[in-house]
């Protein structure tokens, strides 16, 4: 089911170009003041600062952009968006970069995007996210047998507090038609 999902929502070059054009427009007015970089709580772990990233988008340095881990480290805190003196929607730009990398489909993008993919596949199937099945989907996508181990302490804590339960199917399939429609529109756009 989930494999079919990721294959049918494939990178259409049109969509890729649309994301890129949107990105250029979003950060086109950046004046390189660096306020965004200074505001970012995760900048210490990024390989390219947010400010430099916008410059690279303006210059169309696509290969370097897609190799960066910067946008995968954005936690959507909106601090940069709040403070940018030009009022640019920088958090959306980070989101668009994630979509661009997803369409590009590199192994790095698959690894870093695995959580979002698993989450959305679970929403599509169940209508409401079911935490246990969603995490299971995430582990399967990461294909790293040691990864689930690092979640055992949390899992045990949740178990002892009665927080793990079987998936509810109350809204199962309710969102299928909307997902199908959006997929068709985005591939064809």
């Amino acid at each position: 089911m989930s494999d079919v999902t990721s294959q049918t929502w494939t990178p259409a070059t049109d969509e890729y170009q649309a994301v890129l054009a949107g990105l250029r427009e979003t950060v086109g007015a950046c004046m390189q003041c660096g306020t965004c970089t200074a505001s970012c709580p995760n900048e210490f772990a990024m390989d390219i600062s947010p400010r430099r990233m916008w410059r690279m988008i303006q210059f169309g340095m696509l290969d370097e952009i897609l190799e960066s881990r910067t946008f995968w480290l954005c936690s959507s805190c909106y601090m940069c968006t709040l403070r940018c003196p030009r009022g640019l929607k920088l958090t959306s730009a980070m989101g668009a970069l994630k979509r661009l990398a997803r369409l590009d489909g590199s192994p790095r993008a698959r690894k870093n995007g695995a959580f979002y993919e698993a989450f959305m596949a679970d929403v599509e199937a169940n209508g409401r996210v079911q935490e246990a099945s969603m995490m299971n989907g995430y582990f399967l996508r990461r294909r790293d047998p040691t990864l689930p181990l690092s979640f055992i302490p949390l899992g045990l804590k949740m178990l002892s507090k009665g927080k793990l339960h079987l998936p509810s199917h109350a809204q199962r399939g309710r969102l299928g038609p909307m997902f199908a429609k959006a997929r068709q529109m985005e591939v064809g756009s």
Binding site: L73, Y78, M79, G113, E117, V123, R174, L175, M178, K181
Partner: protein, 316 residues
Amino acid sequence: MKYAYYPGCSLSESAKEFDVSVRAVMDRLGIELSDIPDWTCCGASAAEPVSRLMNYALPARNLAVAEKDMGGMDVLAPCSACYLNLLKVNREVVADRHLHGRVNEVLAASGLTYRGEVRVRHLLDVLLNDVGAAIVAQKVTDGLAGMKLAPYYGCQILRPYRVFDDPGKPTSMEPIITALGAEVHEWDCGNRCCGASLMVGHRDVAMRSVAAILAEAEGADAVVTVCPLCQMNLEAYQAQAVRMGGRRVPVLYLSQVMGMALGLGEDGVQLGKNLTLTAGGRKRITTRAWRTEVQPGGEAGRQEGENNLNKGASHV
């Protein structure tokens, strides 16, 4: 006062105690919540990296249902991520004719359409501006005198849209904390990011934020949150955070703290569901242990409480 209630996925799963305590507190305050029928996931922060259209259509579906079936009542969302996603539809989609048309095309696949007429409200906004701190204070039966609470707002109810608070220096929880008889712990971390979903894929990065926030909570009896993801990050990884300079501290939902003061009792707000709150920590809260600590010899009480918390953590 009546609201269309959007609990969202977290509150139906791991954050059940948030849901239960919100419903109980609102009931006590004379507010009626009626669930949006057949509500579905808002996409949280996972939709934007996958599909721009679904990022808008998922929350829009719930607003469309509320608009159609609930007479345009305000939608109340306790979860920060749900709140922001729903609000974004009103701010970004309805204002953009092309995008609005496309989102409605997706909704049409489920026989729905959204005109843009439903107001989206966060729990804190409703408590502060519709109910008011004075009413909260009137309903207090078992005040929290002597308890010091660190208000933690997180990101998404404050940014990017400035609606009911100052995104750089939020204060909206303070009148409520004071109304409960408790004290506000002054700190600068109330609007600092907890790392959000980075905790899943880049835990080392998120842990830096969590440890820094927990370190600044020094001196508070509890951190108070209004977001299930913040709650989870601040609560569930304290053992690691301590090794990075953080401090162990109970983390509670605002609605749980309110419920305690409004006489709902420990079970009424489901203190037993909080991940790192052990029996000892719970007892401290229910017996208002901090009241005695200002007396000489009170240090012993605090010491014991902390030991209990530590003991609980080593079990997991």
